[in-house]
C-alpha cells in the first residue's frame, strides 16, 4: 500500500497547481502498478517524450504548458524527430514536422534543457554512484545504471516528465539495492585484442539482451581497458535485443569490483559461456551485405557519438585523401559539437563531406538523402531498428571498416571472410 508524504499529498490535492496534480496522479498510479510502498526524491530526469508519436504526445505536454507547470529537478531531453539546427534535412510530411517541432519546443518551455541527446551521460553534469534518478530511453537507462551506478527503473514516455515535474519516483525496481544483484553470469572469451573490437561489444550486448530479457546480468571477461564508448555500444545493443536496464562488468563497472559484489553474495541462477564464434555469428546475423556491395551511406553515432569517437574518426579519415564515395552521417548532440568546433574537428570532417546530424538520429526519422539501399553502421542498435523503421538494408562492421567502405563506396571488411566468419 502506497504511503504518501505530506508534500506528496499536497501536490496530489492540487496545492501546487493543476499540472503538478496531474503529474502526481500519474506517478502515484504508476507506483500502485509497481507495488511501491513510497515515493523517493530524484536528483535528475531524462525525458524521451520529445520524440513525436502522434497527437497524444503533444496533448500531454501542452496540458503542462497551459498550466504553467515547470520541472522540479535538472531535466535533459532525449532526441526529437527533427534536427532543429539543420531543419532542411527533414524529408517527411510538413504537418508532422510542425507538430514534432512544437513538441520539442514545448518541453523547453517546461524548463527542460535543450540537450536533445540519447547520450545525456556525455553532458557536463552527470549522475554519480548511488544517485536516485528518473531516466527514460533504453540506452540512457542502461548506461546510467551500469556505468555510472546511478539508480533508475526502466521509465518511458509520460512517467519521465511526471517524475521531473514532481521530483518524485516510485521506490521500486532498480531504485532498490536488492533488485540490482546479477542473476545471470555471462563468461565471454577474450576478444580484447581482435581488430575492430567495437563490433564485438555490440555483439556481446545483443547476446546479453537475448539471454537476460529484463533481468540483471554480470559479464566476466571484458577487456581490462574497456572504454565508456564500448560499454555504451554494449548496453545499447542489450537494451534493443532485450529489456536490459542494468548489467555489471566484473572489474569494470562500479557496483561489480568482484563477481560476489555483482551478485550480492548469492550464486547466479544461470551461467552462460560465450565463444568468439558466437560473437562472430551475431555479427553475421546483424549484417545483410556481402563484401563489394555498393553503399548509399554510412551512419555512425547511435547512441550519439562522443568527443573521443570523433577524434578516432578524424584520425581514420586522415589516412584517406580521396573524396568520400557515399553519403556519411554522424549523429551527435549540440554539446559534443560545440567541443568539436573549438578543436577544429567539426570543420575538418565537414570539409570532407561528413554530415553531422544533431538533436535526432538517422534511424528514427527521415533525414538521410537516400532512404533505400544499403547503409553501413557500427551500431548494433541501428542495425536492429533501421530496416523496419526507415526501410534500408544494413551492412554491419567496425568504425574502421565503415570508413574504408565509405571511401570505396563498397562494403569492405578487415581481413574477414563474411562467408565463413573466419578472421
Amino acid at each position: 500500500m502506497l504511503q504518501l508524504s505530506e508534500r506528496d499529498a499536497a501536490m496530489l490535492n492540487g496545492e501546487a497547481g493543476s499540472g503538478v496534480a496531474l503529474a502526481m496522479r500519474i506517478v502515484t498510479r504508476t507506483a500502485n502498478v509497481m507495488g511501491a510502498d513510497r515515493l523517493i526524491d530524484i536528483t535528475s530526469a531524462h525525458i524521451d517524450g520529445c520524440l513525436y508519436h502522434g497527437a497524444a504526445s503533444l496533448d500531454f505536454v501542452e496540458r503542462f504548458v497551459q498550466s504553467e507547470t515547470r520541472v522540479a529537478v535538472p531535466t535533459t531531453l532525449n532526441v526529437g524527430s527533427l534536427d532543429l539546427i539543420h531543419p532542411e534535412l527533414y524529408q517527411g510530411e510538413q504537418s508532422t514536422q510542425r507538430a514534432a517541432e512544437r513538441l520539442m519546443k514545448a518541453h523547453i518551455e517546461l524548463g527542460c534543457e535543450s540537450s536533445f541527446t540519447c547520450a545525456p551521460y556525455q553532458l557536463k553534469h552527470r549522475p554519480k554512484l548511488g544517485d536516485q534518478i528518473a531516466w527514460a530511453e533504453s540506452n540512457a537507462i542502461v548506461f546510467a545504471n551500469s556505468v555510472l551506478g546511478a539508480r533508475t527503473s526502466r521509465y518511458g514516455d509520460f512517467l519521465d516528465l511526471a517524475a521531473a515535474i514532481t521530483g518524485r519516483a516510485p521506490y521500486a525496481g532498480l531504485h532498490v539495492t536488492e533488485n540490482r544483484a546479477a542473476q545471470i553470469l555471462i563468461r565471454v572469451a577474450d576478444f580484447g585484442a581482435l581488430p575492430g573490437r567495437d563490433v564485438f561489444f555490440a555483439a556481446l550486448g545483443f547476446l546479453l539482451g537475448k539471454a537476460a530479457g529484463a533481468s540483471v546480468g554480470a559479464i566476466d571477461g571484458l577487456p581490462p581497458d574497456t572504454t565508456e564508448d564500448e560499454l555504451k555500444a554494449l548496453g545499447a545493443a542489450a537494451a534493443s535485443s532485450g529489456a536490459v536496464a542494468l548489467f555489471h562488468g566484473i572489474g569494470i563497472t562500479p557496483e561489480a569490483p568482484t563477481l560476489d559484489a555483482a551478485c550480492q553474495g548469492k550464486p547466479p541462477a544461470r551461467v552462460i559461456d560465450v565463444s568468439l564464434e558466437e560473437l562472430r555469428a551475431v555479427r553475421r546475423h546483424l549484417n545483410q551485405a556481402k563484401p563489394g556491395d555498393a553503399l548509399v551511406a554510412v551512419s555512425l553515432g547511435t547512441p550519439h557519438f562522443s568527443v573521443t569517437e570523433f577524434e578516432q574518426l578524424a584520425a581514420l579519415f586522415a589516412a584517406f585523401s580521396a573524396p568520400l564515395a557515399c553519403d556519411f552521417y554522424v549523429n551527435t548532440s549540440r554539446f559534443v559539437l560545440w567541443q568539436l568546433e573549438s578543436s577544429g574537428i567539426a570543420n575538418t570532417l565537414a570539409s570532407r563531406g561528413v554530415q553531422i546530424v544533431l538533436d535526432t538520429c538517422t534511424y528514427i526519422t527521415p533525414v538521410m538523402k537516400k532512404m533505400s539501399g544499403l547503409v553501413m553502421t557500427n551500431s548494433g542498435k541501428w542495425a536492429l531498428y533501421a530496416p523496419a523503421n526507415i526501410g534500408v538494408r544494413v551492412a554491419y562492421g567496425s568504425m574502421n571498416e565503415c570508413v574504408r567502405s565509405a571511401f570505396t563506396g563498397k562494403v569492405c571488411f578487415d581481413e574477414h571472410d563474411e562467408s565463413t566468419g573466419q578472421l
Partner: protein, 153 residues
C-alpha cells in the same frame, strides 16, 4: 446492463478501471512502438505472427509486453484515435502498457480496463475465445473477467 450467460468467469487484479466487452484476441508479445500503426489500427511488425491484425475495440490477450518504452505513447495515441483495444489482459505486470492506459485516461477520460490474470485463467481465455467482458469498477483492486459464447455479440 448486459445479460449474458458466462461460460466461465474469474477474478483478476485490476491495474486500471473500466468496463469493456469485445472479441478476445490473443497475440504474442508486441512492441507498440515500431509494431502498431495507430492510423490504421493494425499490427505492422512484419515478423509478428499477428501481422495485419486489428486491435481496435478488442479485448487484447497478451501474456507480456516487449520492446521500446515509447510504446506508452503509441498505445495512448491508439486509444485516443479509437484504434486501440477496449480492454487488456496481461499475465505479467507491465509498466509501459499501464502508463499508456493511465495517461489516455487522464487526457481523454478513456476507460480501458487493464487486468492481470493468472496463467491458468489466461490460458483458458485464449483457448475459449469468443466475447470477453471485463468489469473493473473504479477504486476496486479486483476485476471480474467473464467469457461469453461467441454468438452472444
Amino acid at each position: 446492463m448486459n445479460t449474458m450467460n458466462p461460460q466461465a468467469s474469474f477474478n483478476a487484479e485490476a491495474l486500471t478501471s473500466g468496463f469493456a466487452r469485445g472479441p478476445g484476441v490473443f497475440i504474442e508479445p508486441l512492441s507498440f512502438w515500431g509494431g502498431y500503426d495507430t492510423e490504421t489500427g493494425t499490427i505492422v511488425e512484419q515478423s509478428h505472427p499477428a501481422f495485419g491484425q486489428s486491435l481496435a475495440g478488442v479485448i487484447l490477450l497478451m501474456a507480456r509486453a516487449k520492446g521500446s518504452s515509447s510504446s506508452s505513447s503509441v498505445l495512448a495515441e491508439a486509444i485516443r484515435n479509437k484504434t486501440g483495444p477496449a480492454g487488456i489482459v496481461l499475465c505479467e505486470r507491465d509498466l509501459i502498457i499501464a502508463i499508456g492506459v493511465i495517461v489516455a485516461n487522464e487526457l481523454y477520460a478513456s476507460q480501458v480496463p487493464l487486468v492481470l490474470a493468472s496463467s491458468e485463467d489466461f490460458e483458458q481465455l485464449c483457448k475459449t475465445g469468443g466475447v470477453i467482458q471485463i468489469d473493473a469498477p473504479a477504486g476496486e483492486e479486483t476485476a471480474r473477467v467473464a467469457i461469453e459464447r461467441s454468438s452472444a455479440l
